[in-house]
């Protein structure tokens, strides 16, 4: 059979398998091996299946993954979110929608220490939602803020998603991590602007806090946060200046947060045990998918579909920005009914060569992709964060959560437009690196 046609058949088959509850790793691996076998024959296919899982995982860059995950878990256990939320409240509590703003700040700060937006959303929900409801903030607003803010953790380094993107596309993981800093801050700022507008238009949604706070209180409240801030600056500074590789930074960062959790007496033997087991489980799960995705990528390569795709896209007689925008549109649509990370594994080997050929920067495109993953996490009907939130309060209606999220989803699209209009946001910091 024509290899390119086989490539298309493979992609369709893969989507069908995924929709039919086949675990992502198994589906991707199966279609990869099968397709490679049909295109290149038995011998090469079996050899490929034998070598790729080892050669994928036994990569120095991959070792950063468990370390970033570990770091996030230690931060989670150290109760840092509660502290930062408290002090953020002292700083911004008197702005209209104060507690909601404090949630955004806490989310961004948690993101600076944790690489997973799943953990971030779950933690934020537990800490901030009861507090916001207690102070009379509209439930929908509270849900929307937490769902949206939880996603920032994927953009602000350390970020597991960035590492995954870097692995699939063989881009510099250090540069990708640094590239996420400014876009992450822009996203947080945009959420805060949105909250300000919402509350200004309808002050009833978020009653003012009438507590007097002295500047001294504000500064002393930062005391419990300095540990995390130091670790973040040290780790990211190390990556930025090239003193650390991302893997070393992960090791040092995990060690730092480990010591901090110990010092705060938040870590006992049982939590440590469970944490480590969780990390092993998450790493096994994620890297199992990635090795299978590499098998699939080999199939895509021999099917020559990526070349055909980029030839097709480049020879289109329309400006490249329109191609980029339609790719974005396609991903947004895909995100509505499909797990975006799985979609990334399937589509990136085909799409990225074309994007690079069109003259776009793969690091910047990584920022866009991670943002799209975030968007899909909060888009109804299947966004993961929606379901995390539904579980936090007993009498929550799914409709309430979704209504709360809609303005934030719209803001996410505006943020995406900003990233596209100003690539410097993503590329300025990495361009200064060696």
């Amino acid at each position: 059979m024509d290899p390119q046609l086989m490539g298309w058949v493979g992609i369709v088959l893969l989507f069908l398998l995924l929709l039919a509850r086949t675990p992502v790793a198994f589906a991707i691996g199966a279609v990869g091996i099968l397709g490679f076998w049909v295109v290149s024959g038995t011998g090469p296919a079996m050899k490929m299946a034998a070598i790729v899982p080892y050669s994928t995982v036994a990569t120095y860059n991959f070792s950063v993954m468990p370390l970033f995950i570990l770091m996030g878990y230690f931060v989670y256990h150290s109760g840092f979110t509660t502290d930062i939320y408290r002090s953020a409240r002292l700083w911004v509590g008197r702005i209209p929608g104060g507690l909601a703003h404090a949630t955004v700040i806490a989310g961004a700060a948690f993101g600076a220490a944790s690489g997973s937006s799943f953990a971030s959303c779950a933690t934020l929900a537990k800490v901030t939602i009861p507090e916001m409801i207690r102070f009379g903030i509209d439930r929908r607003l509270a849900f929307g803020v937490v769902a949206a803010t939880g996603t920032i953790a994927s953009m602000i380094p350390p970020s597991v998603l960035m590492v995954i993107y870097g692995m699939i596309t063989e881009q510099s993981i250090a540069k990708l991590l640094i590239a996420g800093i400014l876009p992450g801050l822009v996203a947080a700022a945009n959420y805060m602007i949105l909250i300000y507008i919402i509350v200004k238009r309808n002050p009833k949604l978020a009653p003012m806090l009438n507590e007097k706070v002295s500047w001294k209180e504000r500064f002393t409240s930062l005391k419990s946060s300095w540990g995390i801030i130091t670790i973040f600056v040290f780790v990211m500074g190390g990556i930025y200046t090239g003193v650390f590789t991302p893997t070393e930074a992960g090791g040092v960062g995990a060690f730092g947060t480990f010591i901090m959790a110990l010092a705060l007496r938040k870590l006992n033997f049982t939590t440590l045990k469970n944490t480590l087991l969780d990390v092993a489980r998450t790493t096994g799960m994620v890297l199992c998918i990635i090795s299978c995705a590499f098998i699939f990528a080999r199939f895509m390569a021999v099917s020559q579909l990526p070349i055909q795709m980029s030839d097709f896209l480049i020879n289109l007689d329309i400006p490249s920005i329109w191609i980029l925008l339609s790719v974005m549109g396609m991903y947004i649509l895909l995100g509505f009914f499909f797990d975006m990370i799985a979609a990334m594994f399937i589509t990136l080997p085909i799409i990225l060569p074309a994007i690079i050929e069109l003259g776009y920067d793969p690091i910047w495109f990584g920022v866009l992709m991670v943002h799209l993953c975030e968007v899909s996490q909060i888009t109804p009907p299947f966004g993961l964060n929606i379901f995390i939130l539904k579980g936090t309060l007993p009498d929550t209606d799914l409709k309430e959560v979704i209504q709360g999220i809609i303005p934030f989803s719209v803001m996410d699209i505006i943020t995406l437009a900003i990233y596209i209009a100003f690539p410097q946001l993503a590329l300025f910091l990495p361009s200064m690196m060696m």
Partner: protein, 182 residues
């Protein structure tokens, strides 16, 4: 029939304890890795005496973390799948699809286990070593791939049997479909 069932239950519980023990080793490696990399950074920048071979060892460690835990992930039903598109199906339909998914997994990972096993044996025979400052033998890390994949297949096989038993059970005493998704 009952004898056979007893045998499977026993085999399954010993499989589960092996898998759990390996998961502990896997999480131990993560912990050691953290200290190891920190020690390397400290020794290198403060004392200018890096640990030799740190790159290769870090690589071997990830192989250990991943392939010693893939079967454990399956015991928790932790290999993510998309459930939304099929959540409207009756429970038996979902279980049938799950069985199909596990069979796909067995197909993939038995191919991987068999052929990567041959590669591991080859690496052992020719005494293949890693490139770099220290020449570590490669067969221990390479044999983790067939080992972990093989265990995953066994675990999947036990899940298939378990799910089949559930399918054949009368509908009224069916337990709630559980499992963890991330």
């Amino acid at each position: 029939m009952i004898k056979l069932r007893c045998f499977f239950i026993k085999a399954d519980s010993s499989l589960k304890s092996v898998v759990k023990a390996l998961a502990w080793i896997s999480s131990g490696i993560v912990f050691v890795m953290m200290f190891f990399l920190t020690a390397d950074v400290v020794l290198r920048y403060l004392f200018n005496r890096p640990i030799i071979g740190v790159y290769q060892l870090a690589e071997f460690m990830v192989v250990g973390v991943v392939f010693l835990s893939v079967a454990y992930v399956q015991t928790l039903k932790g290999h993510i799948k998309m459930e939304v598109a099929t959540s409207w199906l009756p429970l038996k339909g979902q279980i049938a699809l799950d069985i199909f998914g596990y069979l796909v997994g067995i197909a993939v990972f038995s191919v991987i286990a068999w052929h990567s096993g041959k590669i591991a044996i080859h690496a052992w025979r020719i005494k293949d070593v890693s490139m770099g400052m220290v020449q570590f033998p490669l067969w221990p890390a390479k044999s983790l791939v067939p080992f972990g994949s093989g265990l995953l297949c066994l675990e999947l096989f036990s899940n298939v049997l378990g799910d089949l038993a559930m399918l054949l059970r009368p509908a009224d005493n069916m337990p709630e479909a559980g499992g963890e998704s991330l």
